[in-house]
Symmetry: C2
Subunit: 177 residues, 2 copies
Amino acid sequence: MSVSEKGAPMSLKNGPRADSRDDSMTNQEPKPAAGDRRLDDFLCFAIYSANLAYGRAYKPGLDELGLTYPQWIAIVALWEQDDQTVSELGDKMFLESNTLTPILKKLEAMGYLRRQRDPADERQVRVSLTDAGRRLREKGMHMNLVKSSGLKPDEFARLQKSVVRLRDNLIKAMEEE
Amino acid sequence: MSVSEKGAPMSLKNGPRADSRDDSMTNQEPKPAAGDRRLDDFLCFAIYSANLAYGRAYKPGLDELGLTYPQWIAIVALWEQDDQTVSELGDKMFLESNTLTPILKKLEAMGYLRRQRDPADERQVRVSLTDAGRRLREKGMHMNLVKSSGLKPDEFARLQKSVVRLRDNLIKAMEEE
DNA sequence: CTAAATTAAATCGTATCCGATATATTCGCG
DNA sequence: CGCGAATATATCGGATACGATTTAATTTAG
């Protein structure tokens, strides 16, 4: 079985004219010599395209909530811990203020959170959910936002951990220049 | 060991004030009842943040090539098979013409590819690499674009396949409404 | 104690993504 | 043949990401 599953849909609409040539080499890093690998053999592309797919799978549910994906993540992160600074929230969401500030301003305009300078350190802005924000989180909690991943619980859990490990390793490698 | 690895860096700069509360429930789907899960327990968020991390890890190498990530993917996809239509390329990249067209126009302006209407069907635009585009692909091939994932080949390969399966399942589930 | 360095947000410009729509070409059916 | 439906790109507006810069507040050095 090649990397791209037998009859799996590979695209938005039509399967990609499956020209599966057999290759046992499925990973990129363990063998850095050859560069002529297929797109699906790049882990980075698998992640990239899975992210696109997740975004599309979530869209209908998020539309019901009237939120975008990053907006929803921000609500969830604030539900976990309220009254965070922009930086703290950014640490959890892997975003910085240049991206986060506009998102938070929009959520504030929607009435789901409050932004206020910390009196103890006026450089910081503390963000906290409003009652409406908490109600929204509750609503999303009881909705089934996700389509089925189709993976068995076992594989699902392993995948979850591996992706987190991958992410953290990439970031650690970057921090070490 | 909790989902978020022991000392793993969880953010761009500082670890997120690790408040790891112990939870054995690491996956989202197998138990759709409870909605009060932590951000790291969402597979969608793991993918989302891993994608951000990959983008940052690739940035330095791609800067050397003078390309963005989607631009690079397009070059790789055309290297695999030249003279594709915009739709075919979109099938492989999981993008549609609204996103792809501007990217292709830019690459054309850079001199890395040609875009021309198919004489047999003027609706279609066929895209093919120029010599400069092929040279660029060769250059990227010999560069080490990726930092280390830090995963063992075994886990790396499994992860690769699982992510592809996840992506294809999500898309298939959407196609079935 | 104050000027320089540091830090936290915000702003700005560029490049994706994506839904909705527009335009052009081809197909299908009477 | 002819015209409405379907198809392939392209365009446009809104919402992220992100590097670079700016502004304001705090900390640190001398």
